[in-house]
Amino acid sequence: MTRYQRADPAALDELVRRISPPLLRYFGASRVGWNDAEDLLQDCWIRIHRSRHTYRTSEPVMPWIYAIARHTRLDAYRKRRRLESREVLVAALPEHLHQTVPQAAPEQDALEHLVASLPESQREVIVMLKVAGMSLEEVAKATSSTVGAVKQKAHRAYATLRRALGKDQGNAR
């Protein structure tokens, strides 16, 4: 990040290569289409680029990046809501992220569907913890929240997922 702030193109390339995949998954987990997730990723990178002077080297980079990503997602959601309130719906449904990404193992696919069905705030915490590999403290910073609130959301999400998975496995038997 420091090299990126000093305008090193190699540092920028490395950052885009390393951080884009989990960011894309983060956007994909917000139940938007694949194309929308890619658009959000590009928008997020532009915001990261314009805000790069606000990153401090003494701080961890992930909460900073995900705080920007979170605002990008929320703004896109608000914009979509505004547009949807003005447009007439047609029969065609938008494509879904899980239909276009490489298929995972059946149990992983089931878990992905269950995660997608979680409430927005819980899904966001799960994606940051498990996909981005952030700590509770880092997620709290990225979501402008407290560690206690993040723990509570994660706990509720785990309980819902565990219950749903138990039910699924029971049905499979």
Binding site: P21, Q42, T54, H71
Partner: protein, 238 residues
């Protein structure tokens, strides 16, 4: 976190899912497009100062504006207040200035650890100012409540608006994503500045006047700040 074998299996499943998600590949065209856009405007940037220095910058402007405006304006309130009233109100308003400065400084840097939320600062400042006025000042009114009151409301507006513009210019050095939250925090800081100046200027040091014309106007101005922040969100976002 979990003890039973089922819980351990669930945790493993979740970890595997997380790892498989983060391995997802980004299409080369998108990566090239992103890199192309960013590389074309890649210039060295100077990182923002530390959180404490940003907070101090806001506080310095707050103190300088308050002292400067009190010095050049009428000081009728200064002579009408008792020492206890003056010390208590100065402490409450200084506390509000510090808390709002901290909030605005946190808002400037994405992913900052916010040790307390804006809602708590608004509640504390509101209770502090209104409670202080209700307890410290006499409960009496003169006959000309409205005609004595509205000039104070106008004066508060005339101090708060340029104050908010100055604080907003300072805050714009960061990355403001907050919308309504940023608007309310910047507005709150400007309103505390206006309240401090008015407290020493106003010649009607009675609780009903201070609560309605000073406190009430302050609440409306903070609300307006939040509305403007939300309305102009797209304009000042990075």
């Amino acid at each position: 976190m979990q003890d039973s074998p089922q819980d351990a299996a669930f945790e493993r499943q979740l970890e595997t899912w997380g790892a498989s998600q983060s391995d997802a590949e980004l299409s080369p065209e998108i990566r090239r497009k992103v890199q192309g856009i960013l590389t074309s405007s890649l210039t060295p940037v100077k990182p923002l100062p530390s959180q404490s220095r940003l907070t101090l910058a806001f506080l310095a402007v707050f103190v300088a504006c308050t002292v400067g405006l009190i010095a050049i304006m009428d000081k009728a309130g200064f002579h009408l207040m008792t020492e206890a009233q003056m010390a208590s109100m100065a402490a409450i308003l200084a506390g509000g200035g510090i808390l709002f400065s901290l909030i605005v400084a946190w808002d400037m840097v994405p992913g900052s650890r916010q040790r307390f939320p804006l809602s708590l600062v608004l509640a504390l400042s509101g209770f502090g100012v209104l409670g202080g006025i209700a307890l410290l000042f006499p409960w009496r009114t003169s006959g000309a409540f409205v005609s004595e009151g509205w000039p104070c409301a106008v004066m508060e507006l005339m101090i708060a608006v340029p104050g908010a513009a100055v604080f907003w210019l300072l805050a714009r050095r960061g990355a403001l994503f907050g919308g309504a939250g940023v608007g309310a925090a910047v507005g709150g800081l400007a309103v505390v500045l206006a309240l401090a100046v008015l407290q020493f200027r106003c010649m009607f040091q009675q609780a009903p006047h201070l609560l309605v014309w000073h406190g009430g106007t302050a609440a409306i101005l903070i609300g307006l700040g939040a509305l403007i922040g939300e309305w102009r969100r797209d304009r000042w976002m990075p």
